[in-house]
Amino acid sequence: MPRNARDVVFVDGVRTPFGKAGPKGLYAETRADDLVVRAIRELLRRNPSLPPERVDEVAIAATTQTGDQGLTIGRSAAVLAGLPKSVPGYAIDRMCAGAMTAVTTSGAGISFGSYDVVIAGGVEHMGRHPMGEGVDPNPRFLADRLVDPSALVMGSTAENLHDRFPGITKERADAYAVRSQQKVAAAYAAGKIQPDLAPTAIRSAEKGWGLATEDEPPRPGTTLESLAALKTPFRVHGNVTAGNAAGLNDGATACLLAAEDVARKIGLTPRMRLVDFAFAGVEPEVMGVGPVPATERLLARNALTMDDIGLIEINEAFAVQVLAFLEHFKIDDDDARVNPWGGAIALGHPLASSGVRLMNQLSRLFEERTDVRYGLTTMCVGMGMGGTVLWENANWEGTE
């Protein structure tokens, strides 16, 4: 039976405020699964026209899938969120691109006709699950020289990127980081970030219950001078610092995807249309360059050039990795299309959850920028990958 691919739309997305990982962080005594449950419930609450039993799948990503991020987090979160037991769920892992992959995979399922409505998202509690928790790398990686010894240390891969792009200096990276902080501060002041946030209960045995209402990581007062003084923990006299990289964070995201016709029938308003996506592999020791081949592949397949792209939400794992992308596509470091409301260097990067944060922000930007037709969300991925998703603004007012 011939089948037609269906249009897939991004309806809505929410997230918990992001916290700093560690014993003093917002979520130090909050469970990871409770974070994603909160995001899912808030998402459903904001879309009351969606009968919960119409959700066909709950795809939730986590990089470390043990403890409170284990137990098939998509399914257990669905049950904990009070979705009908008939709603299935599963867990996804593509490290930093976990939530992005949750969206592309479940979105592809919608397009194929297997789902009408899905919830996709991610969670990472890096305080409870430090990066690399419990990993057991195969000794052949090194014995057979499959990867460079630095490949598994993300900061080292960022230093490697500075080697590959000698024109990207520490000063450029720091300047980018300062702008990210400034853009986030401005976006907060303008009330652009807050609508995506689900205030989340936090508890501390020492302080009692509280409520997380804002992201904890941003440092609005950051200056070039203050960044210059920071240590370069991954290489002596190196370039990568805590200031020009995303921190270690806790947080969760969730978004609602649907077949476009179903969304309209149920009464859900699409914000953007999933056009296509691409993932690509690169040498693991320079994983930060991953978005370049992924984006090239995606643009080529869709007969677009970077000139056709009006907004780019690129994950800021490291400033150098963003700058490498911009340099490749001959985009200025301070191009207004790129992360207009700032990025992960300021907001934080709870690994597997970040993909949907990029989408949330792109979809909000699309609402304001009805002149823009296409946007990208893109991110680099550990073990040498990149992922890019091409979106079409549902509110685009232009004509073909």
Partner: protein, 713 residues
């Protein structure tokens, strides 16, 4: 000696009151801390100061309030009351627990009414501040809330409750107190007298029933209900909308007219009918609710202070606290039970017999142990009927939604029948429920022993026969134990575990472990005639029947013990257990103690007549039964009957203790509370026999030292 200084209501000039000695009485208090944290409310509603009540332990040790906890909450309120930058105050608990009320551990040590009054006032002085701040206050009932825990919330301007709250209750009257930290005043003024009485009076009277979150919301105790998954977040969002005026709270208007008075009057009638004035807490609570209609807060709270002070010093409360402690602690750690480690696993159970009791036991074992249970009987028809009855009961549970269809299938598959006792070959625990006749029981056990392993426990549900004699003649008498349930076995929580002369520790440990898995409270009893509950009940009954035989009208005899507030009058009890069984136990006891347990010819005649009691189906006295008991010529007054009955009780219990039937008076009381439903305000029975002077008069001494279940000397 440290003093707790308490500030008065917020916003008014602090009223200084010094509470002397309380902190010392509550020296072991696990202090519930009141943590204050600022919360930025959504929708721009400003800052809320959120108080978290947390005693630092997990949910198995709930938050309670003694002087230390109250002082901490007071200090938290001090820090809030001086602020002008907050829009509201919130109070919530630790995970799964809001707060379960006053810390009662220090109460038995309170010696003076002055101290009692001080602790009462201390609670008011602190809690009422929540209702008298310059900003609105919100209680978020996130988990279990009892007594003072509920009252903290009642003082607040608004309340939300989690749909997951497993229990909310004001159980004070059950113990012998009143919900006197605002409960009797605030609750009826919030939800009306009728609904308040349901919480304050009716539920405690109904085996201390509690409300679930949705029920409490339905009653109007909370203004909003939210799912437990994000209860606090949604409560705070709701708070913001209330503060912004987006949500207006509409509460049904309380009927302050006749409905209020009628509700109180109906409750008085109900309480009096059940307790005959024996438990002052209920009456006192009703007095307070009745007057709450016309009192202002100061008057209402002051009246509660007086009531609490009186009741804290009352014998009934002290007995109630003693009884509560028995059921919470002693019932879970039975005196004299051997090391748990000696218990052997029970993976299959045999039940000899297929009568009503046998099938009830089969169902209980299958439900609680979830192991195969096989019934045996010589008669296929009886066997089918017995198994069928158990399966029918499972269907009833299924119909009521108490078990799922899968669970029902599982339970049914666990309960099977067999004509031959070879089906017991791999059983670890066989209980007999055959005819109450020593020769029959001995024969049955001998047959079972042919098939089972040497370690298989043989338990008897005999209510009066000697366990030791039943074991004699067996190859392994050390594996025989008494396992005496009370009817209905699924409901009554007591299990008398009887150690025979030769019962070994492993068998006894297995019996206790099995009893615990059956969710029964086990009491170790010596192999003495009729054990504990039946012996005490029969001594009472025999004495009262004797007065009727002598010519006292049954009605007079029935009323005689009403002032004790027992669950039912003696002849009603006789009807419930059945005159034949009463006679049988009486005969057993008569055989052992002919002087103290005389046989009543009239009772024998009643049994012979086939009557099931002295009452007709409409609860009127059966004239024919009255006739059977008629003919005596020296009637007694109610008071005389009561005196003789109480004397007999004190006499029998002292003898039982001297014989070593149980380890202590506490075990007698625990048995009477759990097996016969004797009330908390009597402390079971020995606290009452002590405080009424009967024990000393009859036996020359008290059962319990002053202070154990009475105010300290």
């Amino acid at each position: 000696m440290s003093d707790a200084v308490v500030r008065g209501a917020g916003g008014t000039a602090p009223r200084e009151g010094t509470v002397t000695g309380l902190a010392e009485l509550f020296g072991d208090e696990v202090v519930t801390r009141a943590y204050v944290r600022d919360v930025t409310l959504p929708y721009g509603a400003g800052t809320l100061a959120l108080i978290t009540l947390d005693n630092g332990h997990d949910h198995t040790k709930p938050n309670t309030f003694g002087p230390g906890g109250l002082a901490d909450l007071n200090a938290a309120l001090d820090s809030i009351a001086t602020r002008d930058d907050i829009a509201a105050v919130g109070v919530t608990g630790k995970p799964f627990i809001f707060a379960v009320g006053a810390d009662l551990n220090g109460v038995p040590l309170i010696r003076t009414r002055e101290d009692a009054h001080a602790i009462a006032r201390l609670g008011h002085d602190v809690f009422r501040r929540l209702g008298e701040l310059d900003v609105p206050s919100f209680a978020y009932y996130n988990g279990a809330a009892m007594g003072g825990g509920v009252e903290i919330g009642l003082h607040c301007t608004y309340r939300t409750i989690s749909s997951g709250v497993p229990a909310l209750a004001l159980p004070e009257t059950f113990l012998g107190l009143v919900p006197g930290w605002g409960g009797t005043y605030l609750l009826p003024n919030l939800i009306g007298a009728e609904k308040a009485i349901k919480v304050v009076i009716d539920n405690p009277l109904a085996q201390n029933r509690t409300l679930k979150g949705p029920q409490a919301y339905e009653l109007g105790i909370a203004d909003a209900i939210f799912d437990s998954a994000d209860f606090l977040e949604e409560s705070l969002a709701w708070t913001a909308r209330v503060l912004n005026g987006d949500i207006t709270i509409r509460r049904p208007e309380v009927d302050r007219g006749k409905a209020w008075d009628d509700a109180v009057a109906a409750a008085r009638w109900n309480v009096d009918g059940k307790l005959h004035g024996a438990a002052p807490s209920y009456t006192r609570a009703l007095d307070l609710i009745a007057a709450a209609k016309d009192r202002d807060r100061d008057e209402g709270f002051a009246a509660e202070d007086e009531a609490l002070a009186d009741l804290i010093m009352s014998d009934e409360l002290r007995a109630g606290l003693y009884a509560f402690d028995l059921t919470q602690k002693r019932a879970k750690k039975p005196a004299g039970a051997p090391d748990k480690a000696l218990a052997r696993p029970v993976t299959k159970v045999g039940v000899v017999g297929a009568g009503l009791m046998a099938s009830q036991l089969a169902l209980l074992f299958a439900r609680r142990l979830e192991v195969p249970v096989v019934l045996t009987d010589l008669d296929q028809e009886r066997l089918d009927k017995g198994v069928g009855h158990a399966h029918g009961e499972i269907d009833k549970l299924l119909g009521k939604g108490r078990v799922s269809p899968d669970k029902a299938n599982r339970l049914k598959s666990l309960i099977t029948g067999s004509l031959g006792k070879e089906a017991f070959a791999d059983a670890d625990f066989v209980i007999e429920a055959v005819f109450e006749e020593m020769s029959v029981k001995k024969k049955v056990f001998a047959e079972v022993e042919e098939h089972v392993s040497a370690e298989c426990v043989l338990a008897t549900n005999t209510s009066s026969l000697s366990v030791s004699e039943m074991a004699s003649g067996l190859r392994h008498p050390e594996r025989v134990v008494g396992f005496h349930f009370f009817n209905p076995v699924a409901v009554l929580p007591l299990l008398e575990i009887v150690r025979g002369e030769r019962t070994d520790d492993a068998t006894l440990a297995t019996a206790f472990a099995t009893g615990a898995r059956l969710k029964k409270s086990c009491v170790l009893v010596k192999d003495a005639p009729a054990f504990v509950v039946n012996r005490v009940l029969l001594r009472l009954l025999a004495e009262i029947v004797r007065t009727v035989d002598e010519g006292t009208p049954i009605e007079v005899a029935e009323r005689s013990v009403a002032p004790l507030g027992l669950p039912m009058p003696p002849f009603v009890l006789m009807g419930l257990v059945g005159p034949a069984i009463a006679l049988h136990v009486n005969e057993t006891l008569h055989e052992a103690f002919p002087d103290r347990f005389p046989l009543s010819d009239n009772l024998a005649k009643l049994v012979a007549s086939g009557k099931t009691g002295v009452y007709l189906p409409d609860f009127s006295l059966d004239p024919e039964a009255a006739e059977i008991f008629g003919g005596g010529t020296s009637p007694s007054t109610e008071e005389q009957v009561r005196d003789r009955a109480l004397d007999a009780l004190a006499d029998e219990i002292r003898i039982m203790l001297d014989e070593g039937v149980v380890a202590a008076p506490q075990d007698i009381d625990l048995c009477m509370i759990l097996g016969a439903g004797w009330p908390f305000h009597l402390g079971g029975v020995t606290p009452y026999l002590d405080r009424s002077g009967v024990a000393e008069r009859v036996t020359g001494r008290r059962f319990l030292e002053p202070g154990v279940a009475s105010p300290p000397a």
